[in-house]
Every structure is written in structure tokens, then in C-alpha cells.
Symmetry: C2
């Protein structure tokens, strides 16, 4: 059995671990990122954490894989730029190779998480899978034949020319409609139109409008909430159908906060996607991601296996 070290770099925490060649986590360790510190100092902490993981697992990893947010130069193991971590031209790959004495592979964190779901999660065994993360933004990762298709990022695909303003500067992006933020905006608009309704009450009790407010209200029979979900899933189906028509993935895995809604989201979504795709195409399996935060760790380690 071969083992791989995985490093999942986040804005708040960095997770490290040892993963065997089957995608099973053998050991884990975690440290706060402390992103306000110089990048070299953060890197020393990462090296410490991954060495702790190695000690805990008591195995020698064949290679180390890392998933980092930001613009990545995988070929040279550089994080070119990351605004949240304030990293610039950061040679994290070569430094890690030097510190651990094994080859290092660097991938974008969303790409790594997608690989994790294909190796050991919702898309296990699929020849091709697109993982769509519905969180603050819309992330996408595409894996074909066990390999990450790098740079695949469809959050800023315009699906409604001239539509909702997006943070990226364009109008009508997939992300502007289908991120958790997009859904929360739609929910807030519906609450403003009907301040005495069930959605408003749920938001009051919870003290905030979240991605599940509208699903909880719909479950209580709120027609306005049903309408918001209808609009939301229509846009989501539009974006997914674009990707299915365009790339024909075998599986679509829905992750992020909204992905946790499971069948409350997926059932209406599937029937809408079916209506939107080419007549001759088979509907891909559309499922929820299953690994949660472990996807990034497992995927980072498995990226080192390739």
C-alpha cells in the first residue's frame, strides 16, 4: 500500500493528513492559517503540521499534494496570487519538496476537492465528473479519467446577458444567481415583498437569512418560498444544462452549503435539467457531495498520486 500526504489550505484553517492509495484518511492534523503573517512563516507551520500527520500515521508518504485557493501555477508549484491569504509568487511546491524529500504537487483547492469526491465521494468510479460548489460563490472542478482538468471554472459563465450584477464585474453570471449568496439575495427580496410570511418568521427566529431559510419555509407549505426555489432551480438547471450539453460529464456533484439540502434541492433540479438538455443525451447522475471538508484533503493527497 502506498501513502500520500495531503494539505488543504483554507483562509481560516489548514488541514493536513496522510491518505492511502484507496483514498482513506489514515491521520489528520489541523492548524489555524493565521493569514495575517508573512507567507514564509505560514509555510513553516504547514510543514510542521504535515510532519505531525506523518508521525501520527507512522508511514512514509510517496509524495505530497496540496490544494490552495488562488491563481495556481501547477507546473512549477507556485501560488501566483491569492488575495485572501495575501500570497504572491509563492514557491510552496519546491519548498515542500525540500522539506519532506518527496515530490510535491500543487492544485487549485476546488480542483482538489473535486478529485476527492471522484476518488472517494459522490462520484466514486465515474469516468467524468463535474463538482459544483454552491457557497459564497459558485466553484467548479472537473475530473476526467481520474485527472483534474485544470482551470475549469464556470462560476462566471453568463447565463443571463445583462442580468444580475456579479462581483466579477460582468452581469448575469451563474454565480450571481446560483451561489448561496444569490439564493439568500432572492430570499431577502421575497421577504421584503411579504414581510409577514413564513420565510420572514424563520429568518426572525434564526436572526439571519441563510441558504436553508427558503427550503425550511417551503417545507412548511409557504408558496412564496416554493416560488423562490422554483426560480433558483430554474437558473441552476440552466447553468448545469450548459455544462452537460457542453462537456457531458457522467456525474454532477453538488456541494457547498446549498448542496446539503439533498433531495429538497435535487428532485426539482433533475426534472428541470432533463427538460433543458439535448434530446439524445442521457441525464447525468446529479447527486450531493458526500465528503464535506474531507474532499479537499483526500483530493490534495490523491493529486500527488497521478
Amino acid at each position: 500500500m502506498k501513502y500520500y500526504a495531503g494539505i488543504d489550505i483554507g483562509g481560516t484553517n489548514i488541514k493536513t493528513g496522510i491518505v492511502n492509495e484507496l483514498g482513506e484518511i489514515i491521520s489528520e492534523h489541523s492548524i489555524p492559517t493565521g493569514a495575517d503573517r508573512p507567507q514564509e512563516v505560514v509555510l513553516q507551520d504547514i510543514i510542521y503540521s504535515v510532519k505531525e500527520s506523518i508521525t501520527k500515521a507512522n508511514v512514509t508518504p510517496s509524495a505530497v499534494g496540496m490544494g490552495s485557493p488562488g491563481l495556481i501555477d501547477s507546473k512549477n508549484g507556485f501560488v501566483i496570487y491569492n488575495n485572501n491569504l495575501n500570497w504572491n509568487n509563492f514557491a510552496i511546491g519546491p519548498t515542500m519538496t525540500e522539506a519532506l524529500g518527496v515530490p510535491a504537487v500543487l492544485e487549485n483547492d476546488a480542483d482538489a476537492a473535486a478529485l476527492g469526491e471522484v476518488v472517494a465521494g459522490c462520484a466514486e468510479g465515474a469516468r467524468s465528473a463535474m463538482i459544483i460548489t454552491l457557497g459564497t460563490g459558485v466553484g467548479s472542478g472537473y475530473v476526467v479519467d481520474g485527472r483534474i482538468v485544470r482551470g475549469c471554472e464556470f462560476g462566471h459563465m453568463v447565463i443571463h446577458h445583462g442580468g444580475r450584477k456579479c462581483t466579477c464585474g460582468r452581469s448575469g453570471c451563474f454565480e450571481a444567481y446560483c451561489s448561496a449568496t444569490g439564493l439568500i439575495n432572492m430570499t431577502k427580496e421575497a421577504i421584503a415583498e411579504n414581510p409577514g410570511g413564513i420565510m420572514a418568521k424563520i429568518a426572525d427566529i434564526e436572526g439571519t437569512v441563510s441558504g436553508h431559510t427558503v427550503f425550511d419555509a417551503a417545507q412548511e407549505g409557504d408558496e412564496n418560498a416554493v416560488n423562490v426555489i422554483d426560480t433558483y432551480t430554474e437558473y441552476l438547471a440552466c447553468g448545469l444544462a450548459n455544462l452537460i450539453n457542453g462537456l457531458q460529464p457522467e456525474v454532477i456533484g453538488i456541494g457547498g452549503g446549498i448542496g446539503k439540502q439533498g433531495e429538497r434541492l435535487l428532485a426539482p433540479l433533475r426534472s428541470k435539467v432533463q427538460r433543458e438538455i439535448y434530446k439524445g443525451l442521457a441525464l447525468p447522475r446529479i447527486v450531493s457531495c458526500t465528503l464535506g471538508y474531507k474532499a479537499g484533503l483526500i483530493g490534495a493527497a490523491m493529486a500527488a498520486k497521478v
Copy 2:
């Protein structure tokens, strides 16, 4: 030097030829498709034509590559379905292998043409290239590291949710706006609004509205034509920016009837695309396809080389 036989199957004509490993055509032959005949009879003609090409070139091909329209099962060399040729579950690959005694590779014709442009045309030497064909429909072919990314078909990516009706049944597809047909429709609408204008005159002289009517009128200073081109290139830039943000190809090659407009199309297009893509991304080279009909033949042969 190795040689490959190429077969480009079209609705009207079938072209065959011998191509060397550098992508240079050594010999060519062509036959009318005669699509009203049974598929087995057409296939006998194709075998005859490719044998003529082999005789003319006086070399032995290492393999044969074919590009066919329709739904393709590349793995088994089957054309699953083609409505124009009326082909169904057609084992063209295995039959060709039997007839010529060499391995046969079958690809979608748009994919093969994209490979041709990468091997010997507008995207020569590019690590990744997306070829967009603006004809009756919008075709797309994507080549990464010298290999076709099969099934990549973005003509039916919705860019304007609820917009122009598309032949595929959806509304607002890239194809509905950006095909030659889409541009001709926009031109006709502008002519109807201004029947005494320059576009109307050009259409009168030529007896029809074509993809170049609006470009010719704009060159003569027609402001209405300039507006149509502005709208058209805005939609085209929107679709291309989706693909650039999503897949980051190094080169975008524009083919088909509209691609022939060269800089009259590309100059305004580039500045619009630049505005639409991610801030950090470099603008890909956006160029016209250069091989014309030869792209399909060269690409089919080169598909057999992989």
C-alpha cells in the same frame, strides 16, 4: 515519415486523403455523399475513395481517421445516429479496419476539424485551443495537448435565459445569437426596420441576406449595420468569455462563414472579450481559422496518429 488516411464525411461530399505526420496533405480524393442511398452502399464508395487516395499517394498509411457528423461512439467506431445522412448504429470503424487492414479512429467532424487547425492551421503549436465554427449553427471543438476533448459542444450554452428561441428547444442559446443564421436574422430585422437603408440595398443586389451583408454595409458607413455588428459581437464576446473564464484555452479560432470576415469581426470582438474576462486572465489569441475544408481532412487523419 509516417502517413495517415483521413476521411471527412459531409452531407454533400466525402473527402478522403493521405496526410503525413506533419499534417501535410499528400493526396486527395472526393465523392458525392449520395445520402439518400443505404448506409452500406455509401460506405463502399468511401472505401473506394480512400483506396484511390492511397494509390495516388503511393504510400502505406499506418492508420485511418474519420470525421463524421452526428452522435459518435468513438470507442467502438460507431456512428450512433445522424439525421442528415440517415445513419443509425453504423459500424463504420470496424468495417474500415477490415477493408484497409489498419486501425481506424472515428471522431465527430467538428472535433476533427479543430484538431486539424491545431496541427496545421490557426492554432498550430498551441497547448490548448477552442475552435468555434459560426455557420448554420455554432460548433465547437476543443483540443488540449494535441488531443481532442471529446463531446465538447457549446453551441447550446444558454447565454440569455429566456431569450431568443433556439432550434434545440431551449431559449437564449449561444447558437441562437451567434450562428450565421442568428446574424442573418438580426440583419433581416434591421432591414425590416429600415427598408431604404444600405443593408436593404446590398441584399437587393445580391438577391439574399447573407452573413456578410451587414459587414459590407458597415464598411460603406451604414450606422444601422454598425449597430447590428455591435450587438452581434457583444453576444459573441459573452459566449467566448464564458469559455475563456471556464476553460482558459490558449487560442480561440473562429471558423465557418462568419469567421471569414477576419479583422472586420475580430477587432471589435477582442476588445469586448477583454472587457468580459476575469481581470487576472490573459486574453487568448483570437484568430480566424485558416484551413477551410482541409481542416476536417487533416484533423481526421491526425486523429489516427494519437
